[in-house]
């Protein structure tokens, strides 16, 4: 069994009297993709922020194995629009101890981009590719991926997944993959975590989650409380 690369125990977080995370525990292990799904506002992004070290929990404890680098890649992250791709690379290379320029160039050219293009001139699919390149070139060993294919067209999403899987096979990082795309979760995650109203309501191996009667999607939906269909 692989040891935990990153784990959180008993995490509580409250914002302005709202209990966003309630006794959440999670463990990420090398070479394992842990899927995370929850409704909007369930606490996913807060949890990710805390795991990334960007925020502190009110109580509870995050443990990161020494010498491991945790980096978050989120849909919401943006870069200065007027920077060229090579300028962005240079910027990150300076601030990171480790930087693999070859990996960056390789991924950028996979997405058919050249390094003189300005970040602001890119389409969303191209932006996703660049962010992936900037992320992977930092050689993280703990990947926190927050809805990275949301909003991408079918081809761009596939390219992102293919690149991720290629480097996952090579690097064997611990991965937290947060997505609303249920088929991605079914295909990519070793285990699935469902978070609802600040609590982890389900944690199981993905193939144990398959139900012959109702299918993966319906199973997932049934885990959420207060499922109101409005029409």
């Amino acid at each position: 069994m692989t040891d935990a690369m990153l784990s959180a125990q008993g995490i509580y977080k409250t914002y302005e009297y709202k209990n966003v995370l309630n006794n959440v525990s999670i463990e990420l292990r090398a070479g394992i993709i842990t899927g995370l799904i929850g409704r909007n506002g369930a606490g996913k992004s807060t949890l990710m922020s805390i795991l990334a070290g960007l925020e502190r929990p009110d109580s509870g404890h995050v443990y990161q194995r020494p010498e491991q680098k945790v980096i978050m890649l989120a849909n919401s992250q943006q870069f200065p629009r007027y920077f060229s791709l090579s300028q962005l690379a240079a910027l990150l290379a300076k601030s990171c101890r480790v930087w693999d320029q070859e990996r960056f160039s390789s991924i950028v050219s996979l997405f058919k981009l050249n390094s003189h293009q300005r970040y602001g001139s890119l389409s969303s699919g191209e932006v996703a590719g660049v962010k992936l390149a900037l992320f992977l070139a930092q050689l993280p060993n703990i990947w926190l991926l927050d809805e990275i294919t949301t909003g991408l067209d079918i081809v761009a999403a596939e390219n992102c997944i293919r690149v991720l899987l290629e480097y996952f096979s090579h690097d064997k990082p611990a991965v937290l993959y947060c997505s609303h795309n249920v088929s991605e979760l079914e295909f990519l995650s070793d285990e699935v975590l469902i978070i609802d109203q600040g609590e982890i309501v389900t944690h199981c191996q993905t193939d144990e989650f398959v139900d012959t009667e109702i299918g993966f999607s319906e199973q997932l939906k049934q885990q959420f409380k207060n499922l109101e269909v409005l029409v």
Binding site: L165, S169, D207
Partner: protein
């Protein structure tokens, strides 16, 4: 490699089972023949957009079932077709598979001919001297 694996989301089968089944069908259709090397786990994972652990699990399952052989450092290869289980076990497994097939097609109200024809199309062509 003309191996085409099509995976279905939200199915009653796990992804690993689907991969196993499709590789076995490819072998029985002759798309893959004994001695063929399988693509590496990494390549298959990227092509299918599936977790490499799942792909590895499928290939290992196929080794257990006797459809593939694993050569350390060289990868997975399609196994020679040879009887790897006892006659009694062979009969038992065949009966089990047949029962499953009959049970799952009962509700379709098909003729025996149609059912047999469905099986025949999946089987490799056999030489007439058996």
């Amino acid at each position: 490699m003309p191996l085409k694996i099509l995976l279905v989301h939200n199915s009653s089968e796990t992804i690993a089972e689907q991969i196993c089944k499709q590789i076995e069908l490819a072998i029985s259709r002759g798309v893959l023949v004994a001695g063929d090397s399988m693509p590496s786990v990494r390549v298959l994972a990227v092509e299918l957009q599936v977790n490499p652990n799942t792909v590895a699990k499928s290939l290992q399952l196929l080794v257990q079932r006797g459809s593939l052989v694993s050569q350390k450092g060289r990868g997975y290869f399609v196994a020679e077709v040879k009887q790897r289980v006892s006659n009694a076990e062979q009969k038992r497994l065949l009966k089990q598979a047949a029962e499953k097939f009959v049970a799952s097609t009962r509700a379709l109200a098909l003729t025996n001919e149609e059912l047999i024809s469905a099986i025949e199309t999946l089987l490799p062509k056999e030489k007439s001297d058996d």
